[in-house]
Amino acid sequence: MSALTFTLQKALQFSINCSALTPNHLANKSVSEIASLLIHYGKNQLRVDELFNISGHDTQNIHFKNASHQFDYLGANMSSGHIHIEGDAGAYLGFGLKQGVIHCLGSTLAFAACNMQNGLITIEGNTGDFLGGASAGLRKGMSGGTVVVKGNAGDRVGDQMRRGLILIEGNAGDYCASRMIAGTIGILGNVGNYTGFNMKRGTLLLTKIPQLHATMQDCGTHTLPFLSLMFKYFATFETKFSSFSALRAQRFVGDSACNGYGEILVISPDLTS
């Protein structure tokens, strides 16, 4: 059975809310039923077939073609299946994702993996602010699952993150791991200012010592056995993090401004195990 494919027919003037186009929403629906579904386009609602050419039948394997930054809420609250995005995605990619796999070949706007609970999101390009963060009004962000970003991420990566794993192969912006509650964030590139701001718990893995504020305390360089388990787990994903092996890390703990015990572990290539 071929993948259910939505190909954008024309350039968009407004954003589309794609939250209805997930495997769990479309399961057991015929192509004609899917075509007649109404989705938000700007302030209006349009039939799906007014925006997309629809082909294929496999609702558990959905492809979006000609996707752009105006595709919001792709894979929102998805609980099964696979979404493959050829192009970019808008805001809230994988919002509240419960289970399943989302693979975006392009870049995304802000709030990717917001409130995510489980599953896997891979972003081949860059992503915006608040990756893995909480939606407005909530006090806890991402609570499970894994996000792999091959490019760069914006500000506030993992803001109020509660659990889960974020791996960024590029750089991250300011306030990385801000207000982080638990979970793990790994960043191969550089991070911006105020890293670990108000961090309570959780682990931020870096490869370079960032400019840290005074309330992040240097606890020295140590061999940490748990890193071997972590790296073994990293190796299950297609990412540059799978080459990590050194168990030596310089450990910074904070943010003591909020009595936090979050940790920033700097794993340098010259720190051998």
């Binding site: 140590h222 056995p225 748990f226 071997s228 388990l229 972590m230 787990y233 299950t236 015990y261």
Partner: protein, 301 residues
């Protein structure tokens, strides 16, 4: 039944239901893994006095351990889940937490879980950190040598304890030598332990005693120095009896261990001084699992 000149009695070993668990202990090297494992399984020969029966199952290669270090798997058995939990937590706290570089991980999958580091984490006094990796929760407890790493729980399974056989020989050194040969062979069998010192028991017991406070006492029918006094099971040429007790995850595991052990002794032949192989039972009234020696040795189990 006669195998290579050694008589196999037409009897059976009587065994009981138990609860069991497996823990994987790793350390900087095998030397320290053994220090931890030996402490953890010390004073754990019999549930009668120790609460649990525990032993080292085998060494693990670095590929087999979760953290890629040298490791040892241990098995622990108790008569009930509550005792097993209590003993595991106590021994984890006193033997593994305290042992330099040691870490502990779940060694068996089950729907029933018992605490490994779940409560031990409070030793961290608030500085402990949890990590959820691949849906398994680990605790990192800061200690003076660095960090103690421990999985939160391990599995608990239904198991069997008390599989056994007796080695009847013409002298004490010959009985012990045969027992050592059997133990060497049985140690290669997975999912079983022989919890007594060196895997061998010299003080097999019977149920009851002439003293009110004792619920088990010496198995006088198999004591060679009492041959003239009791209703002995021993012929005149038997001077020493050694027992091997086996606890295992399943009936099949214990059967296999008994078969391998008895066969190893029989391979020595009657010239080794071993005249008979027997087994301990209580008339079949106490334990639901009966390991019949003849059936085991003809491979019909």
């Amino acid at each position: 039944m006669l195998i290579n000149g050694v008589q196999i009695d037409d009897t059976f070993a009587e065994a009981f239901n138990m609860r069991g668990t497996r823990v994987i202990i790793t350390a900087q090297n095998l030397k320290w893994a053994y220090h931890a494992a030996n402490a953890m399984t010390g004073f754990a020969t019999s549930v009668i006095g120790c609460g649990v029966e525990a032993g080292i199952e085998r060494e693990l290669t670095v590929e087999e351990t979760p953290d890629g270090r040298a490791g040892i798997s241990i098995l622990m058995f108790a008569m009930g889940s509550k005792v097993l939990m209590q003993q595991l937590e106590t021994r984890m706290g006193q033997c593994i937490l305290t042992c330099p570089t040691a870490a502990a991980f779940a060694g068996i999958a089950s729907e029933d879980h018992i605490n490994l580091g779940k409560n031990l984490r409070f030793f961290g006094d608030g500085y402990q950190t949890s990590k959820l990796i691949a849906n398994k929760r680990y605790w990192r407890i800061p200690v003076m040598d660095g960090e103690f790493l421990c999985e939160e729980t391990t599995g608990m399974v239904r198991a069997i304890g008390g599989g056994n056989f007796l080695i009847l020989a013409t002298s004490q050194p010959l009985a012990l030598a045969a027992a050592e040969v059997a133990i060497d062979a049985m140690k290669k069998i997975p999912n079983v332990i022989m919890p007594f010192p060196g895997g061998v028991v010299r003080s097999g017991s019977k149920v009851g005693s002439r003293y009110k406070t004792m619920f088990a006492s010496t198995n006088d029918a198999f004591c060679p120095t009492l041959k003239g006094l009791t209703n002995t099971e021993l012929s005149p040429e038997i001077e020493s009896v050694m027992e091997i007790v086996i606890d295992g995850i399943s009936f099949a595991d214990i059967t296999k261990a008994m078969q391998v052990g008895i066969q190893a002794i029989c391979n020595l032949g009657a010239a080794s001084g071993v005249k008979r192989i027997s087994a301990g039972n209580y008339g079949g009234k106490l334990g639901p699992h009966h390991f019949k020696l003849h059936e085991i040795m003809v491979g019909s189990v």
